[in-house]
Symmetry: C3
Subunit: 207 residues, 3 copies
Amino acid sequence: MLHILYIIAITAEAMTAALSAGRRDMDWVGVCIIAWITALGGGTIRNVLFGHYPMAWVEHPDYLLITAGAALFAALIASVMSRLRKLFLYLDALGLVVFTIIGCQIAQEIHLPLIIVVFSGMITGCAGGVMRDVLCNDIPLLLRKEIYATASIATGIIYVAIAHWYGPTNIAIFAAAAIGLAIRLLSIRYGWHMPKFVYRDEHGEGH
Amino acid sequence: MLHILYIIAITAEAMTAALSAGRRDMDWVGVCIIAWITALGGGTIRNVLFGHYPMAWVEHPDYLLITAGAALFAALIASVMSRLRKLFLYLDALGLVVFTIIGCQIAQEIHLPLIIVVFSGMITGCAGGVMRDVLCNDIPLLLRKEIYATASIATGIIYVAIAHWYGPTNIAIFAAAAIGLAIRLLSIRYGWHMPKFVYRDEHGEGH
Amino acid sequence: MLHILYIIAITAEAMTAALSAGRRDMDWVGVCIIAWITALGGGTIRNVLFGHYPMAWVEHPDYLLITAGAALFAALIASVMSRLRKLFLYLDALGLVVFTIIGCQIAQEIHLPLIIVVFSGMITGCAGGVMRDVLCNDIPLLLRKEIYATASIATGIIYVAIAHWYGPTNIAIFAAAAIGLAIRLLSIRYGWHMPKFVYRDEHGEGH
């Protein structure tokens, strides 16, 4: 079940990533690479940080093909995709939650401390989007205002709290996913933003 | 033989990287770091992704000295280098092909699937240049139009096809290198570009 | 002793990183992530490059809490911090030296060649700041003019020279720290800069 949602999520992430690449006039290689980094980059960074080999996409190379195919397909039907914008926002929210929970589970499996389990979920959910924005030469949006990493952290904390202290994993997954999705979707619906920390120093940029 | 070409390639990549650093007004440390990342970064990223330790430059620290020395030398003779621009474009193309084949070979040695072997070649050939452009605050050029990653992927596919299904490795190396070089050099000569995927959404930047 | 200085250093780095995040209007998640990357990123990159697991912050998850707490506190007292600018410049210099020496020691422990020991110190001291600047969409300052990486390399060379050929480690640490700090602080005091390598090519950007 989580596996099926994972495949849906990486497909959707790859398709929206293709549009980001298109905004920067990339060619087909650029579209594929941005799609790979967005869809598979979070889990890759997590595995690198924990020395957890092999990567999912090394064991399942078809993930590379699925995401590349989805991204190129999205580039072909870009005008249709912009009309399905809401659908992809929902699928992106689903992806965030699914990636986060998978990230938590992998950290649990290798017996990392609870704080690191939540951290692992956040890295898995968010690092792909951060790398996409860095490669597209933007300041990562999720560092600036969206309730994105916040939703990921909330999902991770709920998952850990239930899985660790209460009951079976399935309930933890379901509850964490439901609340995480709710936070993310409500924040999109009502335009919730985190307060920004705006700082300008009088002394110039300094170091 | 491939080893000698590798040394030539990292030297040439370091020298052209120095000019990129100079375009951004970097100091000698910046020049060295950009040179290291460009010349040795692709193989480093590949090894990190596959958990393949130690790095080549940890076993052969002289690679760090060679590339740093070449970069500083290039900074000294920058005006001469701009007249040798064509030579360095050719050496860069050689580097792309050599890095790609070495990347394929290392993935073969650790028995990765064929798709990943080609992918490993592309990462080894291209990731250094992508990181150079990110550090110089550019959108990576090779994601945008050049027949660069495409030439790397073609080289990898030809290498894998021959080495896996036909004959001895030497023929695979020679054929892949020749065709890869031809694609890259012809694309420079005739100004071939991949079609861009240009996308502007009416709804603003969205996610 | 080095451990206490390390805790002081990551706290100070996290606090100054928070101001960088504030200059880019980031929210609380952005502030924490920039702080983590700046304070803990150098050691993390070093460990990834050498395949040295687990990360310090996986073994001591409180490092994540300390740095996040320090960064959020800095965001709250931003106006006070700008008046303490000098103090934080000194603490940043201390951090550079402490990170460098720790980086050298870890490379020594895993018996890497001497050049790589110095390189490891530089990565540990500098990579966090480079990643902070990339995420804040700047060309990394330390690649451009500051005597920063240079001070780190000098610290590493002095440490390696004494620890390897002369006497006990404590003397090496003390001498390297004193000279490295002196170089960095004098360079701030007297505005020393490395000469830039400025290069503009007539033929346009080329590749």
